[in-house]
Amino acid sequence: MNEPVYDVKYSASENQYVFESIGKNGTIIKVVQLVEMQDNVYNLGFGDFNPITGQINDDVKSENGDMVKVLATVLNIANQFLTENNPMTYVHFKGSDLLRNRLYQIAINQYYDEFSDVFEIYGLNGRIPEPFKKNKFYEAFLIRKLF
């Protein structure tokens, strides 16, 4: 990943990751959590923590001017999680809307050469995942470490 990424704090016991997005709207606390959906399949949740309401919003548009850096950090977190966990583990993720899904797609396209050396990357448009193809729309993604 040649894009700069934010430093991350994480709780391995909770599979929670926190980093601060610093941009034109100030500092925004970003939270990522990986939750097991079934054996060896985790869903990646991602959103902004609002310190005033004490809630996480995964639909908010931060518009902090650092979208690429934030997405690179989220992918880096998935990378770190897979590196530290069972090699059979899948991470599933999707954007909260079509635009965000498209942004994930762009980010994977951008890092595909590096990621495909280390991970199996699948696109999902239904029940059967297919090996990720650049410039094809997917509704969700699955990644897993290569042996």
Partner: protein, 51 residues
Amino acid sequence: MRTTEKPIINKTLKGKFTKVDSFPFLEGVEMFTKKNKEAKEYLANVILPSR
């Protein structure tokens, strides 16, 4: 295989990861409950690739 992967992973894993015990400010906070439920239902119908 693992030895050849290491340089790639190290190259890929940029940024600093600091381990903490927990995040007290997240205690009791609802964490992606709706999205996780949707994902679980979605993934239940997905045929995962076999290795």
